[in-house]
């Protein structure tokens, strides 16, 4: 398309006033011929008037005009035509050019016709060009209205001539060679340059969507198009381009794509398998979980016939069964949910379990398809099986344990049933409810007593306490009166059971029948009393021999009658007092051994005095000092002979631990322990202290630091006696830092305190270790 070399869509518009360089070449030459003809005609007309003096140079202004405004070509043409005209018309005599001369007139007319034809043609062409310009102006206006950016580029795109950015991107008003850096996002530059090269090579439209730096400094997206403007020889003279701001659309597209990608990712990475079969039961899509899971041995799987794929996975019958379900769902639209699908794989030596379901869906081709959701429940089933196995083991253990186990599954322990051992020991039926807090109609006549013989209330029982407090209740010993009238001793622990929300949902307890052990302990206790008496007897015998010796000597002297009368009386007095001494020792020994099962009101200070007297008579020789300091002169309820046994034991230990010249300080004082009034007895010696290796087992049976001289039952019996009184006994090394042992015994003023005292005593015992 022939277009003027000057930009018709230049911002400043075409300059029609003088600059005729935009005219088509032909028009320029026509203009040159016309101007030559006009000046030649002018001369011809003027010549007769001026007397043939008009020079040929009259053509010069026309030539100058052409040179300046039209071009060198037309100017040369005009010069040649002017010279020819001068030769043709003015070299001849004037009469030969007479208008009457028909030859000359015809020649001139012909000459003018040629000029007119040339001018007409040029004008036609010029008009066409003009229309084009106008249409391009309209195009520009249209482009301005519909585009955000207009720009012009040099033919090789090296230079941007101008760019009107309309606030989308910055303007360029002067030729700019660094336009790439100015406008194009660095990552998109290679892509842009490649598209430009392509457009230049093919001389075709440049079109690309890319990122640009926006006027406000942010990044935007633009859709850019540029057309090459060609000259008459088909060479690109410039590129005219427009660009639209497509940022919002791109962002919307990005968001959409991202959401789509997220969703796809979600499906793809879902922990369960998803796949779709079309109306022909071909697998059309499948997520990664399916592909890498159940279908791991089917490659490729997309596009494969469903039943064929399934036959790779499962034995024929199983594959057919699944395919039939697909077909049914596809046909009827009924969803299908698998149940207990555990099958051996065809492709592996495995049994796998799956939960799967089918739903009919409409596919993009608007035909029906079936979507299958599934997950591999093999592990779950294995875990379930393992849980079943463990439960079975626990149940077997519960059932066959050689201990009584009671379980209650309500927080009030209203229903309590036991294992085989429990029901057997209790002599009851399996479904009997042994709970003491059971409804009246179900409750069995079972009663519980603590070690002091006090009957326990239902809420004091270990399981009820464990459930009520949410804490384990340990080392409980109780005597149980069974429905058949038997009495047994049980020992064990109870612990609460918690629901998932942390609330107590019941309790469980384990007990041993310790009746036999209790009998053994009673025998041991009796034995210890005898042993204590026995040990004392040996020393008593020693001490009795002293007065006996004196009495014997006195009697001998009296019998020999070798003493004076006055001396005789003296000897009799001595013998009498020595005999009284023997009697007192004997009485103390008997008191120790007397078995009084009945509690009575006693003075602990008096009992201590008696024990000290016994010990002093029998054991203490030389310089051990026993100091008594009574701060308590009241009475308490107690079993006197048992307390005597405790005091004698403790004192004996103190004496044996101290060396000659040592001291034993005994004190009593009124005190309160856990709100109970009573007496605190302290026996402090300056002996060897508690050997380290006995600390943890001071109160255990058969533990002695005295070798063959001890039964190892003294403290064990003492503690059980003190606990029977509801008291506390503790041993510790002296608190003031001096060497020796301090024994503290708390005895309440009334025997038989509620449960908890035994725990207190245990705590006290532990604190003393």
């Amino acid at each position: 398309m022939p277009v003027s070399a000057r930009n018709p869509l230049d911002k400043n518009g075409p300059r029609f006033a003088f600059d005729l360089s935009y005219l088509p070449t032909l028009s320029k030459y026509a203009l040159a011929v016309a101007l030559t003809a006009i000046f030649l005609g002018l001369r011809w007309l003027l010549d007769p008037l001026l007397g043939n003096r008009v020079p040929a140079a009259i053509i010069v202004p026309a030539v100058v005009f052409l040179v300046v405004f039209v071009g060198m070509g037309p100017a040369i043409l005009a010069t040649i035509l002017g010279l020819l005209g001068a030769i043709l018309f003015f070299a001849l005599p004037r009469h030969m050019l007479s208008p009457h001369d028909p030859g000359a007139a015809i020649l001139l007319l012909f000459y003018l016709l040629i000029c007119a034809a040339i001018i007409a043609t040029g004008e036609a062409v010029r008009r066409r060009g003009h229309e084009l310009i106008r249409s391009e102006e309209r195009f520009r206006a249209f482009v301005s209205a519909s585009s955000d950016v207009m720009y012009s580029m040099s033919p090789d795109w090296k230079e941007m001539r101008y760019l009107e950015g309309r606030e989308f991107i910055a303007d360029t008003n002067h030729p700019e060679r660094n336009w790439v850096e100015k406008y194009i996002h660095p990552q998109d530059q290679p892509q842009v340059m490649s598209a430009i090269r392509q457009a230049i090579t093919t001389k075709s439209i440049f079109e690309l969507e890319h990122r640009v730096l926006r006027a406000d400094g942010s990044l935007g997206w633009t859709h850019s198009r540029a057309v090459p403007l060609l000259d008459s020889k088909g060479e690109i003279v410039q590129w005219f381009g427009t660009a639209s701001d497509v940022t919002a659309r791109r962002q919307a597209e990005d968001a959409l794509r991202q959401s789509h990608e997220t969703f796809s990712e979600l499906i793809e990475r879902a922990p369960y398998g998803i796949y779709v079969a079309d109306a022909q039961l071909r697998i059309t899509s499948m997520n990664a979980s399916s592909q890498n899971g159940a279908f791991r041995n089917v490659r490729p799987v997309i596009g494969r016939d469903l039943s064929e794929a399934l036959r790779i996975l499962w034995p024929q019958a199983v594959a057919d069964e699944i395919t039939a379900q697909f077909r049914n769902t596809l046909k009827t639209g009924e969803p299908f949910y698998s149940r207990d699908f555990v099958r051996p794989r065809q492709d592996m030596q495995l049994v796998e379990a799956y939960e799967w379901e089918l739903h009919r869906i409409t596919l993009p081709d608007s035909q029906n398809g079936v979507i299958c959701y599934f997950f591999d429940s093999t592990k779950l089933r294995e875990a379930e099986q393992a849980l079943r196995d463990r439960t079975e083991e626990l149940m077997a253990m519960f059932e066959r344990m050689p201990a009584m186990v009671w379980i209650s599954r309500d927080p009030e322990c209203r229903v309590m049933t036991g294992n085989a051992m429990g029901t057997q020991v209790y002599g009851i039926r399996r479904d009997d409810n042994v709970s003491a807090t059971a409804p009246d109609s179900e409750r069995l006549p079972i009663r519980h007593f603590d070690s002091s013989g006090r009957e326990l209330r239902p809420e004091e029982l270990p399981m009820q306490r464990a459930a009520a407090t949410g804490r384990p209740v340990e080392n409980t010993e109780m005597e149980v009166l069974l429905p058949d009238g038997r009495r047994i001793w049980i020992w064990g622990n109870a612990t609460p059971l918690f629901a998932a929300d942390g609330k107590v949902r019941g309790a469980i307890s384990t007990y041993f029948d310790v009746s036999w052990q209790k009998q053994m302990e009673a025998a041991l206790r009796a034995n210890e009393r005898l042993a204590l008496a026995g040990r004392l007897s040996a020393t008593i015998a020693h001490e009795i021999h002293n007065p006996l010796d004196t009495v014997g000597n006195a009697l001998f002297l009296l019998k020999q009658k070798i003493v004076e009368r006055q001396e005789t009386q003296e000897l009799i007095d001595i013998a009498q007092s020595e005999v009284a001494r023997v009697a007192e020792i004997s009485r103390n020994l008997l008191n120790l051994n007397r078995d009084s099962r009945e509690a009575s009101v006693v003075s602990p200070s008096k009992l201590l005095d008696d024990s000290v007297a016994l010990i002093e008579r029998t054991l203490v020789h030389g310089s051990r000092r026993i100091q008594l300091a009574h701060g308590f002169d009241g009475t308490i309820e107690a079993y006197p002979s048992e307390l005597r046994q405790v005091f004698t034991n403790i004192l004996r230990n103190a004496v044996e631990a101290t060396s000659e010249g040592g001291s034993i300080r005994i004190s009593t004082q009124p005190t309160h322990e856990a709100g109970e009034g009573g007496v605190l007895i302290r026996v402090v010696d300056d002996g060897t202290g508690i050997p380290d290796n006995f600390r943890s087992k001071l109160f255990s049976a058969f533990v002695s630091s005295k070798g063959e001289n001890g039964t190892g039952l003294g403290l064990w019996v003492s503690r059980s006696i003190v606990q029977r009184h509801g008291g506390i006994i503790a041993l510790a090394n002296n608190s003031d830092g001096s060497q020796g042992t301090t024994v503290s015994i708390f005895l309440p003023s009334k025997i038989g305190l509620p449960a908890g005292v035994s725990e207190g005593a245990r705590a006290a015992g532990e604190s003393g270790q």
Binding site: H542, I544, G552, N553, I574, H621, S623
Partner: protein
């Protein structure tokens, strides 16, 4: 009472009544008796007087009769020691330095016979206590 020239017996016992009674008994039999209420006092007397026999109680305050006997033998190895005790089963090592052992509470003649035997020097070795 021809006690003036009789043999001198040192009686050691912390129990004053018994000691007094033993003194009376021995004096009635013609012995001279000097008493001590502790082992230390006994050793002091032994080292200053010509004691013919020591009658030593086992259970004494501080050091027991066995230890005292050992110390006495170092001072006067030839003075016979008769150990008296209410214990029937004293370990033999406690009696290593003792010439004879008599249990308290037996008939007074047992003690007197033992004393006579030992002072006669008939045999100290053969009179070892059977209950050792």
């Amino acid at each position: 009472m021809n006690e003036v020239w009789g043999p001198l017996i040192l009686c050691v016992d912390d129990e004053r009544t018994g000691l007094l009674m033993r003194k009376l008994l021995l004096e009635a039999k013609g012995y001279r008796v000097v008493t001590a209420e502790s082992g230390a006092e006994g050793i002091a007397i032994l080292s200053t007087q010509a004691v013919d026999l020591v009658l030593l109680d086992y259970m004494l305050p501080g050091e027991d009769g066995g230890v005292i006997a050992e110390k006495m033998k170092k001072i006067k190895p030839l003075a016979p020691i008769l150990m008296l005790s209410a214990y029937v089963d004293l370990p033999s090592e406690r009696l290593a330095c003792v010439d004879r052992y008599v249990i308290k509470g037996q008939a007074p003649t047992t003690l007197l016979n033992a004393v006579t035997d030992m002072l006669d020097g008939s045999s100290t070795a053969s009179s070892q206590p059977p209950a050792a």
